[in-house]
Amino acid sequence: MHPHAIPGTMLFEGDLARKGLPLNRMCFSFNSAENRAAFLKDEDAYCAKYGLTPEQRAAVKSRDVLAMLKAGGNIYYLAKLAGIFGLNVQDIGAQQTGMSVDAFKEKLVAAGR
């Protein structure tokens, strides 16, 4: 157990940064529209080009955000990948918490009460 373990939260520290470098580098490339199109055209080839680990490739293939985080993905970079599929941070929040998007949005509103 990490001395600062926070439930449902990972600190993006050196170990994750090391592990996630190929995945995050690929996501960083999605700042370019041309690269986003290339990913959509041939996802396997695009992931291979960035040297994703099998764990990272499987996580991307299954569109599983929690698995991508465990594989070292950083959320700001994963959000660029999510954007390719037209998903925003409420969509990926709902996926990670196992809620419907409407329920997730309601949870956000409820936090203000």
Partner: protein, 287 residues
Amino acid sequence: MARIVGGIGTTHVPAIGKAIAERKQKDPYWSPFFDGFDAVHGWLARTRPDVAVVFYNDHGLNFFLDKMPTFAVGAADLYRNEDEGWGIPVSKALAGDAAFSWHVINGLVADEFDVTMCQDMLVDHAVTIPMALMWPGEGGCPVKIIPISINTVQHPLPSVSRCLKLGRSVGRAIESYDKDLRVVVIGTGGLSHQLDGERAGFINKPFDTLCMDKLASDPEALTRYTIPELVEQAGAQGVELLNWVAMRGALTGRVAELHRNYHIPISNTAAATMLFDNIPVAQRKAA
């Protein structure tokens, strides 16, 4: 000499950029946030700053995780924005003041803040959105900017105390600049939010309230939180509070809160806007 007229803190959520592009400011979802800027607009019209020093964090536009400076200072006469990959429109370039930036850099390094100096620097939504919020409309932003990036992404992050001291050093540098310029200091991001993990959607209104209450009168009180404690209280991305702390540090005079707006939620975030007055020490003595 340059003079710090005040400070502003504001959220910088990317969705705000989209809302501006789609002119949704008066929609019921957005108006509680955008209406909070009326007071800021009035104050900016009265104080007419020439330069804005902006503490922010880059989200993977200028810096990638391969080389991540803890503190980086822009030293350019022009800062471009580019495609950030999440569907917000690309903003117009912002004017810089490279000579003033170098003065700030000289001051920081003399104070043992060994910053990264960036003569070529893209600025992301964490700079462009606050500028668009403060100076809306086609006229664009009338001030020159000095962007100062703080790493809030890849741990270890600088401590709250370190960021407060960074701000103080920047404040001293501004006030020692031998040009008659009016400077506003801006901190962007936050407040509480978390995008990643099973705790995604975490928002902490009591903690945000405490932070906002302490900023003007007792920013030192926030230095008791370690970074993991800050993550726990403010959320994984709520650590952007560090940018606000640095902004507050730069206000070297007598500081008073002039305005506050707080609204939950904007996107996944507790959105906050605060405006601070900074009465310079020299003026205080004269009074």
